[in-house]
Symmetry: C2
Subunit: 646 residues, 2 copies
């Protein structure tokens, strides 16, 4: 085995793949892109008989793809500039790709090249049925996957780097995460997730401190919380004015805090994106994603021949198919909740009427049925969302991801918060809300961390691991093969939605339960470590497309931060202290309502002004961006002259 070729990607072949098919495949992979191949390197030790292939990429392919993706790299003058293949010698370290490109980037490029291979003419794959023929412009890798020739494509771990990373990340008592190493090893989408987790966790400190202070100084609130958790709602009337002001301060603070944090995160995100070279990605100019289909035509933007799909048709599909279907599912959630409430009442009445052990157990039936229903619905919905988004036929991978995430996100959020909103706005029962919130905060977090980490850990340790017992003197190939047996990384959706739901508990309903931030802070400090452990140890190394920000998640957090003003003002108005004032006749009900509405409008205005006033990118990044724009404007003018009319 030659030490020069570093193993990047493992391709698992189907069980019945014949040697001639594999030989043809290896040839295809090695053919340069200009001749319709992938321009990659197969591992030198490769034989035609094995059922895996280990791939790497030559320097030239890597650098060309870097230009195509629009990655920025350090220029010799120290600035980050969009990489240009022809100008490669002026970029720092461009002669050593293993330093120039991160591991994650190199692995993504291999996958990008494999996904991009398209047939240039009719192809008969040797060793396959005649039925499986490949027509011109067909995506070969997709065809082979659906024909069962290729089972899986997996990024390979680099055990040494991994060990180093885990030592710096979660093994000790580090307070700072090694974000640059995470980026270089796992790629930008994971790195953005961990950066946000980190940023968000630290930004929980102020509300946690305020929550603790309020709890400490107003014994009332403390007592009240204990009562609400323990279930008793008595002695709700004797709150001093200190309680009121504590609640108010907490709510006001958390409403403004969320906007400031999200705006500061945008700035941080912009500087991370600059540092990681993803500020000028050119996905919109690249080839469309593999699943994209349409009539062949000339792209008016790039002038290349590729499938085209009119924008209005996509809009039409979204408006006439996606939106109604999503609405139906949201309605189903509502119906489920209604039936659950109705069932609960029925069962309770039955229990009161009969009062037997049988009816005693029946009491839990509605809850159990509701949980089952919700979970089944969520699973079905996820499939439906995938089909819908595929049907919408987005050109760019990121657009596809964002639309899929958006759909699932709305549903999941609705699923999580429908009950809480129902309690807050229809039942108008603050103590019940407080109780529910406290139990959700504590129970779901424990369950989440358990299912997310402990279950995979146990599965890994006691079911999978014995099957892939490893020893130092195993052949290299077996080690690669073992990596392929790890479960596939399930993506960051679950992680982000957990944060979003947390953020929702905190910002939407924080004023009823001041210790939320403290609980979340504790939870997140362990969450960072557990997530890091999980991603390093329990799954295949994921491929990670370079991204410039959190995408649709950013929007979701911001929307939540504005909705929080509505809920908080409403809850403050419902709070027993205010209601007591109302009943005492000091204020009329409508005046209190008017005051709450006025306060809400002012707060929303303040948040809007804040988010406009805090610039989305730091000044120095704005200067760099303008500089790049200026350079490219100049270049366009000069090019016309030098190259003449084209």
């Amino acid at each position: 085995m030659s030490p020069r070729v570093d193993p990047l990607v493992l391709v698992k072949l189907g069980p019945g793949v014949r040697p001639e098919t594999k030989r043809w495949l290896l040839r295809l992979i090695g053919t340069p892109q200009t001749d319709g191949g992938a321009g990659l390197l197969a591992h030198p030790g490769e034989e035609a008989s094995g059922d895996i292939m280990v791939l790497s990429a030559p320097r030239c392919t890597l650098l060309r793809a870097t230009e195509e993706l629009g990655l920025c790299k350090t220029y010799k003058n120290g600035n980050m500039e969009a990489f240009s293949y022809d100008d490669r010698d002026n970029f720092k370290d461009s002669d050593n790709v293993e330093v120039f490109l991160t591991l994650a980037e190199r692995q993504y490029i291999v996958k990008y090249e494999l996904d991009g291979v398209r047939a240039q003419r009719d192809i008969r794959v040797p060793g396959l049925d005649v039925g499986c023929s490949i027509q011109p412009r067909d995506n070969i890798w997709q065809k082979l996957t659906s024909a069962g020739v290729i089972v899986d494509t997996v990024a390979l771990h680099d055990q040494e780097q991994l060990k180093e990373l885990s030592r710096a990340w979660y093994a000790g008592n580090q307070l700072v995460q090694p974000l640059d190493s995470v980026h270089s090893y796992f790629g930008s989408s994971l790195a953005f997730y961990f950066s946000f987790l980190d940023f968000y966790t630290w930004s929980l400190l102020p509300p946690a401190v305020i929550g603790l202070t309020i709890t400490y100084f107003s014994g009332e609130v403390q007592k009240e919380m204990v009562e609400s958790v323990s279930g008793s709602v008595a002695a709700e009337e004797d709150h001093s004015s200190l309680g009121i002001s504590g609640h108010m301060i907490q709510a006001l603070f958390s409403m403004l805090w969320s906007t400031v944090v999200l705006e500061l995160w945008k700035r941080r995100s912009a500087s991370l994106s600059y540092r990681w070279g993803t500020l000028h990605l050119t996905e919109r100019f690249a080839e469309p994603r593999p699943g994209f289909h349409g009539d062949l035509g000339v792209n008016p933007v790039t002038g290349r021949v590729e499938p085209l799909f009119p924008e209005w048709q996509r809009d039409l599909r979204m408006a006439l198919v996606s939106v109604p279907v999503v609405a139906v599912f949201l309605a189903l959630v509502m119906v489920g909740m209604m039936v659950f409430y109705w069932g609960e009442v029925q069962v309770k009445r039955l229990h009161e009427d009969w009062d037997s052990l049988w009816t005693q157990t029946l009491i839990y039936l509605p809850s159990i049925l509701h949980i089952v229903y919700t979970n089944v619905l969520a699973t079905v919905y996820r499939t439906v969302a995938n089909v819908l988004t595929e049907y919408e036929n987005h050109r760019e991978e990121s657009a596809f991801e964002n639309h899929l995430t958006g759909k699932v996100l709305v549903f999941t959020f609705f699923n999580c918060f429908a009950v809480l909103f129902h309690i807050a706005f229809f039942k108008q029962d603050v103590p019940l809300l407080r109780k529910r919130l406290a139990s959700l905060l504590i129970v779901t977090q424990i369950i989440n961390q358990f299912t997310e980490v402990v279950v995979p850990f146990l599965v890994d340790r006691f079911i999978s691991a014995p099957n892939r017992a490893e020893s130092e003197d195993d052949p290299q190939e077996d080690k690669f093969r073992n990596q392929g047996t790890l479960p596939v990384f399930p993506g960051l959706f679950a992680e982000y939605i957990e944060l979003l739901v947390q953020f929702g508990y905190l910002s939407l309903f924080s004023c009823v339960f001041p210790l939320t931030a403290v609980l979340l802070l504790i939870n997140n400090l362990t969450e960072i470590r557990l997530d890091a452990y999980k991603v390093c140890k329990l799954f295949c190394k994921p491929f990670s497309a370079p991204v410039a920000n959190m995408g649709v998640w950013q929007i979701a957090f911001e929307v939540l931060s504005f909705v929080s003003v509505v809920t908080n003002c409403w809850l403050l108005m419902l709070s027993p202290q205010i209601q007591a004032l109302c009943l005492d006749g000091e204020f009329s009900c409508s005046n209190v309502l008017l005051l709450a509405v006025a306060m809400e409008h002012v707060l929303i205005l303040v948040k809007l002004v804040l988010s406009v006033l805090i610039p989305d990118e730091p000044g120095w990044i704005k200067k760099k961006r303008l500089h790049i724009e200026f350079k490219s404007m100049q270049a366009l003018r000069q090019q016309k002259t030098i190259l003449g009319p084209s």
Copy 2:
């Protein structure tokens, strides 16, 4: 006089300017830019003795400035592309500047060059005091203006083009405005104003039709309106449910209408901007505006040496000086209104107590004092706003304009609407509001059109015109001189604010007076013609910097459209029909209030979604823009290779 040199700009010199000074000035104007001059042409018939100079510009200066400003012109393939001087031969008509550049563009370029002349070393102006010396990097034109050498710089009319334009614009019964001719003669800022006026006027048709229908079908509303205008507020209780639904439909429609219209206008504005070649202006890369000052340094974006002024210092000045001062003025408006109300009550009481002719006249005193106070305040504020914006030291002319406009806008708007808001939200008196609105709509429009057009017309006809009696055989120079005696064009602020206030009446309070749109439609149909006449005949031809949109006005209209939801929901809730329901006990007051708040939130959400869903630019412009981006990305990569490391 040579027919090749077309007279573009007239410079009026001060009365005491000596011939040697004028000779020096003519030499400075003729010197190429590289040697510190303006690179312009003086009129060939020019003598050193006259007190005016007529300037023109050579082709080379015009084309270079076109590139500097980032104007787009038709490329030989029919697309609009950013003009490049070195590639000039591939642009259509570039050999004939009078076709290639519009009159407005050529005149603006002359002014741009004059404003951009900076001293390269210490200069002693011949014929001036020793005290008035010009130091390196001083703006010569500004210095000469403050020294009294230059009194005024005026763009010259082209009588033939003007005659043609007026025939196509306002002389006949045209329904369509010749916007392209307006753009080429008066420049893009005026053309955008008239395009918006046109677009907005046509878009008033649907609300006008709805308003008329509602008025026709519900006699109640009609009666009610007549009553309210005539001052009686009786018989307010006997409205049928038709009246309610009419009001509601009107309000709902106008709330959604405003968002749709503004979004469609954005699309129209983008395509106009593409057609007029102002989509890719490069003001941010050009030299700073003449009034900008700061320490000399290297601009990190363009790499040129120029005055720099740190962003944070500007932000600090805005936050610590501008915002408090503006707030003080807004408070003064409030105080004025309070004192007015207080005075009115006092005077009324006095009149009741004494009841003499003396107190009878005294009744009008508060109103008169309030009007005087408001006007004085507005005048003082305008000066203060100018000083403040100058102090903020904006780098770009457009930023300066936008900040100045924004400041004056907020104040003027507050001044106009404070009383109406006070009536609507504090007095909660719908009939009074309706009366006030109707009188404002009718009276202010008549007054506005009178002061804007009739007064200047009379002044022009009877005071100025006799002084510049013109005849066919006058020397050309006298005709030029006569143009200089016209009053300076006061800018578009008054026109835009009129539209904004109109739009405010329509969207904020439309539900109390359904015929608003009809009145505005009639008003605007005459307004278009009067404004056109005014701009063509009564003022000096203004210089007009190329702009890509309406700037800060777009934002002002959009803000208003969102505020309108709040006011309309509030007014609907206050409407006598709903209040009657409330009193009848069918609904409790707080439930009505809750319903109104819920409706408001839903409407704001719908408007937000609408404004996100309607793309801000048509699909074909997006493609063109992406194409230009793609080209410049490619150019940047190729340039690096061809020119080598720079």
